[in-house]
């Protein structure tokens, strides 16, 4: 039973880390517009995330320090300042998108404008960070987020053309009538949505919150190699559910509620209720993770006491950063910029900054002095270098594609 409970972290990171507002939006948009032709992008993002999360988790378990603490020690204060600064800014932007997502879900349920919900969502996220024990946070939202499986089940209820979808998935290409730059732009957003920096910060810092040691290696690897791919599978299911419902009707997704429509077609109100709960859990958990990740990044860089395992009074500056990031993100969301647009920009800018977050992990995990016998094996270095190359290409392509396509028009 204890082993099963410990695996909940994997489920939590799969749902809260993988399926957040970025995945919900980009999977819905691409499924409705390009069918399953961008399946490869989700696979690339998922495998890359699992690979680098395992490295970050291994560094944490072996050194008993979160990965970016080790990065600062190994690469120096100046290099790691770029990393910590970029990560924190992106965390706040992603947090704004997540709070927008939470508020949009509440708007779907109540009909009351999302702007009314934004401050309440921010307050609730901060209260959870401040008061709720780490494991409660993981278990409650992780289990509720599992409701996203309704998208998988819906595929069996909808008129899904499995052979056609499979054909699209294994023969990627720009569908007829669609502009190639836009297709590539959304490929970048899908990869960026899987590789957002807060995921790896939360994963490694969460490992310290849970007290990982070298003995925790199996648990950590299960989380990375089973939990994250499960999250990727749910992203694909959201994409696939749009194909038989939205694509034939010519519906292009530009709002979060449209992503839920295929489940309403399959299961009616019962299915929608499950979607509401799971969307809320996924976005709210991700909001809490983003705010915590801001606190982790800054506190670990500055060498302050950090983490939810300490009472707030013993990690006051860490909690202050978390609170400041929630306030900043809430204020940003209240500017009335469409949360879906904020999400697209967050994942694209995240994609542009991906090497900044992931390259130091590769260096540290390959340092034999630090890692001893747990240093990267040859296969891990080969795979890590290959994915780093992909990340650099994605990073270089992201901003030109953003401008060229006017953010995916």
């Amino acid at each position: 039973m204890k082993a099963v409970m410990s695996m909940t972290l994997g489920v939590m990171t799969a749902i809260g880390g993988f399926v957040d507002i970025g995945n919900l939006v980009t999977s819905g948009i691409t499924g409705a517009r390009f069918g399953m032709t961008l399946t490869w992008a989700v696979l690339v993002g998922t495998i890359g995330m699992a690979l680098f999360a395992e490295m970050a988790g291994r560094v944490t378990a072996v050194t008993r320090k979160p990965v970016f603490h080790v990065v600062r020690e190994r690469l120096g204060v100046r290099v790691s300042m770029v990393n910590a600064g970029a990560s924190t800014l992106l965390n706040v932007l992603t947090l704004a998108a997540e709070l927008g997502g939470v508020s949009l879900v509440l708007q779907m349920v109540t009909g009351i404008s999302y702007l009314i919900w934004v401050p309440l969502a921010g307050l609730a996220a901060w209260l959870v960070i401040w008061r709720m024990p780490f494991q409660w946070m993981e278990n409650i939202f992780g289990l509720l987020g599992l409701g996203l499986i309704v998208f998988v089940v819906a595929l069996f209820r909808l008129p899904t053309d499995w052979p056609a979808m499979w054909h699209q998935a294994i023969h990627p290409g720009v569908p007829a009538g669609q502009p190639a730059p836009t297709w590539w732009f959304y490929a970048v957003t899908l990869i960026g949505a899987c590789l957002v920096p807060y995921q790896v910060i939360f994963f490694s810092s969460g490992g310290r919150e849970e007290g990982w040691t070298s003995e925790s290696m199996t648990e950590m690897r299960v989380n990375a190699f089973i939990g994250f791919p499960l999250g990727g599978l749910l992203s694909l299911a959201i994409m696939a559910a749009a194909v038989p419902v939205l694509e034939p009707a010519g519906i292009q997704v530009s709002h979060l509620n449209q992503v839920a429509v295929p489940v309403a077609v399959a299961f009616g109100r019962a299915g929608l209720a499950v979607v509401f709960v799971s969307f809320f859990a996924a976005t709210f958990a991700a909001a809490a993770e983003c705010a915590l990740s801001s606190g982790y990044s800054v506190a670990q860089y500055m060498g302050w006491s950090w983490g939810k395992r300490h009472p707030p009074g013993a990690a006051a500056r860490f909690h202050l950063i978390c609170l400041a990031s929630v306030i900043a993100a809430t204020a940003f969301t209240l500017t009335t910029i469409d949360p879906v647009t904020v999400t697209i920009f967050a994942v694209v800018l995240g994609a542009a900054a991906v090497p900044l977050t992931y390259f130091p992990i590769l260096i540290v995990a390959n340092d034999a002095r630090l890692m001893g016998e747990r240093v990267n094996r040859r296969w891990a270095n080969a795979a890590g270098s290959f994915f780093m190359l992909i990340m650099v290409v994605v990073s270089l392509a992201s901003l030109p594609l953003l401008l060229l396509t006017k953010a995916g028009q």
Binding site: V109, G111, A249, I251, S254, H255, V261, G268, L272
Partner: protein, 110 residues
């Protein structure tokens, strides 16, 4: 064409609402979003300067179609909020007509 997507999205949401497969706030939200998006397209298109008289003729035709589409979506939103099934069915027919109008224009342009 963005407005075709808006019309189809609202049509699907209203049908789900009529069949009891959706919650009122969810149906309303989908239709309101579609109406706002179509209205935005209408305003943007209306502000464009046509380069010649042939383009102006097309602009007039498009503006009429966009206006009809926005009006149909407004009628649908009003009917859904009043929970009047007869009016929803009538507005759905208007939305269907607007969709066919755009399909006709698309075929003409090809």
């Amino acid at each position: 064409m963005a407005v075709v997507s808006d019309l189809a999205s609202a049509q699907l949401a209203a049908r789900l609402g009529l069949r009891g497969q959706s919650f009122p706030a969810f149906t309303d939200g989908n239709i309101t979003d579609a109406e706002n998006d179509a209205d935005s397209v209408n305003s943007t298109f209306g502000s464009r300067q046509p380069p010649d008289s042939r383009s102006d003729a097309l602009r007039q035709k498009m503006l009429q179609a966009l206006s009809d589409a926005t009006s149909a979506l407004t009628d649908l939103r009003v009917a859904v909020r009043m929970d009047d099934r007869t009016q929803v069915t009538k507005a759905l027919a208007e939305v269907g007509g607007a969709l066919r109008h755009f399909e006709g224009i698309q075929q003409e342009l090809q």
